[in-house]
């Protein structure tokens, strides 16, 4: 059978984007410099990005960095690479030291994905997550 290289490439990248690795051997360490190969596996993977989005609301990031606010991180996600973002979450925030490394990877991956997300879609995703805890406050299930 004949496969065109382009189709094959598309299929492989689709796999990378769609892969869902739920296992114990997740990163326990921060990025080893700007070329860390693990970055791609976080910022290009739909599942990791989505987990990062959930932690984004759980850790209350949205209080200062809400979509469309002055602290919106979409431009930061476009400007900085993932290891930079990792460092500013882990060391630029007082609570950063308490977040496990894997979750920081996911948070940074989420921020890297923000400039690629259509604003309407980001708003729609945030609406789905409205029932999640927002930082230390949780108002209960949506009614």
């Amino acid at each position: 059978m004949y496969f065109s290289p382009a189709a094959l490439l598309l299929a492989l990248t689709a796999c990378e984007k769609e892969a869902r690795v739920i296992a114990a051997d997740q990163p326990q360490t921060s990025p080893r410099g700007p070329q860390d190969p693990r970055a791609a596996a976080y910022e290009n993977n739909a599942y990791q990005v989505s987990q990062g989005g959930r932690y984004f609301s759980w850790y209350g990031c949205g209080r200062c960095h809400a979509s469309g606010s002055r602290g919106d991180l979409a431009s930061a996600g476009a400007r900085r690479d993932l290891p930079h973002l990792y460092a500013s979450i882990a060391h630029g925030h007082t609570s950063g030291a308490r977040i496990p490394p894997e979750q920081i990877w996911q948070l940074a991956g989420y921020i890297r994905s923000l400039p690629r997300i259509d604003p309407a879609r980001r708003k729609r995703q945030d609406r789905d997550l409205r029932g999640e805890p927002q930082g230390p406050t949780w108002t209960g299930a949506l009614r």
Binding site: A11, A14, C15, K17, E18, A19, R20, I22, A23, A46, Y47, V49, S50, G53, D118, A120, R121, K123, R124, Q125, D126, R127, D128, L129, R130, G131, L142, R143
Partner: protein, 623 residues
């Protein structure tokens, strides 16, 4: 006869394969695809059973287990059960009507190609590692944009669209054929019970399937263009999804079951060697099932939290459906009891069906009660219940029907000995495997867990369930092997090996492309038992594709209708539709631009080949 052959035969080779509109060839394709799907879904089931056979299983992680049960459920419901019933209708309805083809032959071809599109839509991404993982009903918000990243949920939703368009095409076709193409003399009152079952199932399909197409399209819109149908924070409602889904989902169970009732009745009648006991009561109970089926979807949502009155009403409605189902069971028993039954393989399957289905029906009455359901919901009791009704109530009759009509389709008999071995393995293994699940459910084992701890004490029964399922799968392999080997090595069957009462047994085995040399004329509900020589009607052309159209109630011949010839356009249109469906996962613009090739395809498909009428209301102007 050679002239009929020439008129109705397909071109040889690939071109004939791609363009055929012969309902028998298309139905055979459907069934081969279904068997492949059944095999894959069975392997998935076995894999899951191996994972659960002991506590703390490590064969699968949670993600793989989620994908496995989602794929198993979606395949069995959307790619096996419904299509196989449509396929049996596509194959049998014209034969049982003494007709040359279905009412819309090219729509039959279109229906298969789209069904194949649905199969590929689910299984090609699976091969690439992108598998829907949210169960067979993918409730939002779990399937919404906030919680289901990537395209897994979209793939599931579009697979539904494919298969539902295919099923709607087949149902419209079957209903129109039964209503307008019955042979002279076959009034509605003289219509064999199987045709009633297919007619009712087709009408139910036409009413039920739009609901699920609507709801999956709304889900795709939520995910693709950020509409807010299912997000409470945006004024949407997640329960809307459940209501619309189950407004389809419950009738769907009966869309699968009603044709099975038709199989059972046909087999019981032929092997008891007497007309069906209580034919009218059977038809009426089928009609009442079809109406009631649309009024009890909420019993799938008892645990959601509904007003008391709602729960009470749907509890009552769910229990009421046991009455018509009971009438049918008693009518079959009365037919067998008052006839001269012969227990060949098809009849054994009926016995297996009655025993298994009654158990499933009884556990159904149990979970129909809202308070008990609240205890049992999402436990293995429910898993046991729906496997008893779906496998016992639909798959066993299907296997019986397969054995019953196999000689007609292939001209060969299946081995009776291996048929009995397969029957014992499947029915025995099934009951051994699934009965313990009732007890596991009562002990509290939840559905959809990928493993459990040893302290729960569920190991023994789970191991038993795995052993039973394995035996059942082995039986399935024996059944398929028997069918394959008998195709070449079976004894020649002749036209009527079982002494059947309905018209399909008057055609040669396997039936030629034109089915019947002459259109039969019918004087009763069991035409072949009433005459040694079937009366026939002449007058259809043998050098052009013509079919007879009759009136809806009394089957009075009205006119001869041209039946469309083979065409490549159904395939090309199905490809265009597939391109639109697949594209719309990625961009909303695919819907707009995808319409263009579909429109071109449909215009060419329906390009008129006849001149304008020169008389009557459709007369061309100026003539």
């Amino acid at each position: 006869m050679s002239r009929l052959d020439e008129t109705w035969a397909d071109r040889p080779g690939w071109w004939g394969f791609l363009t055929t509109v012969d309902h028998k060839r298309i139905a055979a394709r459907y069934i081969v695809t279904v068997v492949a799907m059944l095999f894959l879904a069975g392997m998935l089931a076995l894999d899951m059973r191996l994972q659960l056979s002991a506590a703390n299983g490590t064969r699968m992680g949670p993600q793989l287990y989620d994908e496995s049960f989602s794929l198993h459920g979606s395949t069995m419901l959307f790619l096996v059960s419904v299509p196989v019933m449509e396929a049996m209708g596509i194959w049998l309805v014209p034969l049982m009507l003494g007709a040359r083809n279905l009412a819309f032959p090219r729509l039959t071809a279109f229906s298969y190609w789209l069904y194949l599109g649905g199969v590929l839509m689910l299984w090609v991404p699976h091969a690439l590692g992108i598998t829907p993982d949210l169960g067979w009903f993918e409730y939002p918000p779990l399937s919404g944009p906030g919680y289901a990243p990537g395209h897994r949920a979209d793939i599931w939703a579009q697979m539904i669209t494919f298969t539902e368009v295919a099923a709607l095409s087949a149902s419209v076709n079957i209903a129109a054929t039964i209503l307008k193409m019955r042979p002279p003399g076959m009034t509605l009152a003289r219509m064999p019970f199987f045709l009633w079952a297919m007619l009712i199932a087709s009408l139910m399909t036409i009413f039920a399937l739009p609901a699920v197409m609507l709801v999956t399209s709304m889900l795709i819109a939520d995910r693709l263009v950020s509409t807010q149908f299912f997000t409470p924070a945006g004024g949407g409602d997640v329960l809307l999804f459940q209501h619309l889904f189950w407004f389809f989902g419950h009738p769907e169970v009966y869309i699968i079951f009603v044709p099975a009732v038709g199989f059972v009745s046909a087999i019981v009648e032929a092997f008891s060697r007497r007309p069906l006991f209580g034919h009218i009561a059977m038809v009426l109970s089928l009609l009442s099932i079809s109406v009631l089926a649309f009024g009890l979807w909420v019993h799938h949502m008892f645990a959601v939290g509904l007003p008391r009155l709602g729960n009470d009403f749907y509890t009552a409605a769910s229990m009421v459906i046991a009455l018509p189902a009971g009438i049918q069971i008693f009518c079959w028993i009365a037919t067998i009891g008052s006839g001269r039954p012969r227990f060949a393989t098809p009849m054994l399957w009926v016995v297996g069906f009655i025993a298994t289905f009654v158990i499933g029906g009884l556990s159904g009455v149990m979970v129909a009660s809202a308070p008990l359901d609240l205890q049992l919901t999402d436990t293995y009791f429910v898993v046991a219940h729906f496997h008893y009704v779906l496998v016992g109530g639909a798959m066993f009759p299907l296997f019986g029907a397969f054995c019953y009509w196999y000689p007609k389709a292939t001209g060969r008999m299946m081995s009776e000995r291996w048929g009995i071995i397969a029957f014992v393995l499947i029915v025995g293994g099934f009951n051994l495997g699934f009965f313990p699940m009732h007890i596991l459910g009562l002990e509290g084992m939840p559905r959809r867990v990928y493993t459990y701890g040893p302290e729960m004490g569920w190991d023994g029964l789970n191991l038993l369930a795995t052993i039973g399922s394995t035996v059942s799968v082995l039986g399935g392999l024996v059944l398929v092997a028997n069918a394959l080997l008998s195709y070449w090595r079976g004894a020649p069957a002749g036209a009527d090996p079982w002494g059947g009462p309905t018209l399909e047994w008057a055609a040669p085995s396997p039936p030629p492309p034109y089915n019947f040399e002459h259109t039969p004329v019918v004087t009763g509900v069991a035409p072949l038992w009433e005459h040694d020589d079937l009366p026939v009607m002449t007058g259809l052309k043998d050098d052009a594709r013509e079919v007879l159209v009759t009136s809806v109630l009394d089957a009075i011949p009205l006119y001869r209708q041209h039946s469309p010839a083979p065409s490549i356009w159904p395939l090309l249109c199905a490809l265009a539709v597939s391109a639109m469906f697949v594209g719309s996962i990625f961009t909303a613009w695919a819907i707009l631009w995808g319409m263009v090739p579909i429109a071109v395809g449909l215009i060419l498909w329906f390009w008129p080949v006849r001149g304008r009428a020169t008389s009557g209301p459709l007369r061309a102007r100026g003539q």
